[in-house]
């Protein structure tokens, strides 16, 4: 019904389904998405109870902050300059934060093993050998800025900028946000004191945890924007069903 008369055979071939994401990648993607949204919301709530950030081992209202987020606090002991105190949401936020963290960590563990064993990391996420140059990055950047449509290969594979962004999120930002989270735990650091010491102390870990989360949020916003720009329905279909199709199908489907 979609392919009515007049469509050349060649483009019919192009429009056959192409496998984009394996079942494990899709499951991991959506589990991580749900966990990350929960972590972001609850993390924000916890920050509100003390929106001051420090460097080193200790920090409190009697010490000089590294920076202060200019928002009201949910504690009247924090001098914020605002005349009111927000409602305390830390109880359930902390429960949900750690439960969601377990979902993210266990998903990441399974995904990490799969990524290595199946070659998913090597094939799809690490920049290809021929792109190991500033020039490759520059060229791709120019292509984005000129808003040139992506070539056919990008329907089935990631370009060097995408690979780099995904690799940084998966191999740097996520591991670091887990590490800095654990480095704030008095019990975990009893067993592994170096996890806090290497970062410069508990308050440094907390500050890095915040900055890392902000970078992950930035990634989420850019990621969703790019998905929307490049064909929201086809990209969503690929991440839900596993199959992608020629993006021109998107405009035809509505008819």
């Amino acid at each position: 019904m979609l392919y009515t008369g007049g469509v050349p055979a060649a483009s019919q071939l192009e429009r056959t389904k192409t496998r984009r994401h394996s079942g494990l990648v899709r499951a991991a993607h959506w589990l991580t998405f749900v966990a990350f949204v929960a972590l972001l919301v609850t993390g924000g709530e916890i920050v509100i109870s003390h929106p001051r950030f420090y460097w080193g081992e200790v920090g409190n209202v009697n010490t000089k902050p590294l920076f202060v987020i200019p928002i009201p606090s949910s504690r009247d002991t924090v001098p914020t300059g605002y005349g009111y105190v927000m409602p305390d949401q830390n109880g359930w936020s902390r429960y949900l934060h750690f439960e969601a963290a377990w979902v993210a960590v266990l998903t990441g563990l399974v995904y990490g093993i799969y990524g290595v064993v199946s070659g998913h990391f090597r094939k799809n996420l690490l920049p290809e050998r021929r792109d190991w140059s500033w020039r490759a990055y520059g060229d791709r950047m120019v292509q984005y800025l000129r808003r040139k449509p992506p070539g056919g290969t990008e329907e089935t594979s990631y370009n060097v900028l995408q690979r780099t962004a995904y690799a940084v999120v998966i191999f740097v930002l996520f591991p670091l946000v887990i590490w800095t989270g654990l480095a704030m735990s008095p019990a975990f650091t009893a067993a592994f004191p170096w996890t806090a010491a290497l970062l410069g102390g508990r308050q440094s870990a907390r500050t890095i945890h915040l900055i890392d989360s902000a970078l992950l949020l930035l990634f989420l916003l850019v990621h969703v924007t790019m998905v929307a720009v490049s064909g929201f329905r086809s990209r969503m279909r690929a991440m839900i069903t596993g199959y992608g199709r020629d993006s021109t199908c998107d405009s035809r489907e509505g008819r």
Binding site: T63, R75, E99, W102, P186, F188, A196, R202, R206
Partner: protein
């Protein structure tokens, strides 16, 4: 295609069966070894149980981080306390000579101890960090007598699984498992930074528990009860904190 699908189906089925079986075994093991926290039920139960079980196994023989004397905070933050009652003021005026710590429950010899009695027990000190669940922290030296010594004096019975502790203020109470109670850092604290423990920091007697966040280190402790059944206390959630939405276990 069919062949692959069938193989996938078998793999999927085996994986799902292993997963369900694994969960069932994990649940039984957790129950058997006391790795489910008193508030480990409801929607947050799985997360709480995972955190508590993992940290209990990891830390059972590990002490909280200690710091050099040079890192003691010059200007520690005491946090808010409820305004002292007349009864508290009366005790304070008497230099807390009439402050009593009751030790009862599953013990061979229940005790009533004054601060002077506690000071005859072995004195320990530790330079550890108080970390609040809100995010702030400070380091101080804490001086007192290990809770484990007091429990030994009272002859704590082998079936004891939790130590419940109450504050001077009615309705404020918490509990820790026997592993945390036996941690040599768990102190009945009477001194701070070479002086008496100031009232804003929980003086005259605070239970310091540096492997957990600040809210587990209850100020103004008056009563300790050993028990084999934590469900009998309050709403059965292990402390008053879960009744306000806060986790019983605060190692993270």
């Amino acid at each position: 295609m069919n062949k692959i699908s069938r193989r996938k189906l078998i793999y999927g089925g085996v994986a799902a069966a292993a997963g369900v079986g694994g969960l069932a075994v994990a649940d039984r093991m957790a129950k058997r070894y006391g790795l489910i926290p008193p508030d480990g039920r409801g929607v947050y139960g799985p997360g709480e149980t995972m955190t508590y079980a993992c940290q209990r196994l990891l830390t059972v023989h590990m002490l909280a981080r200690e710091f050099p004397r040079s890192m003691i905070s010059k200007n520690p933050f005491a946090n808010e306390i409820s305004p002292p009652t007349d009864e508290f003021k009366r005790l304070q005026a008497g230099g807390f000579r009439d402050w009593r710590l009751v030790v009862d429950g599953t013990v061979a010899h229940p005790l009533v101890l004054s601060l002077a009695d506690l000071k005859t027990l072995p004195v320990r000190s530790q330079i550890t960090e108080v970390a609040c669940e809100e995010g702030w922290s400070y380091i101080a030296e804490w001086i007192g007598t290990p809770l484990s010594g007091v429990l030994r004096e009272a002859g704590v019975l082998p079936e004891t699984r939790y130590i419940v502790y109450y504050a001077f203020e009615k309705g404020l109470w918490g509990s820790i498992d026997i592993a945390d109670a036996r941690d040599e850092h768990t102190l009945l604290t009477m001194g701070m930074n070479d002086g008496d423990l100031p009232v804003p920091f929980g003086g005259p007697l605070r239970l310091r528990l540096p492997r957990q966040l600040g809210y587990k280190s209850l100020k103004f402790v008056t009563h300790i009860t050993a028990t084999d059944d934590i469900k009998k206390f309050g709403k059965g959630l292990g402390s008053v904190d879960p009744e306000y939405g806060y986790a019983w276990y605060a190692g993270i």
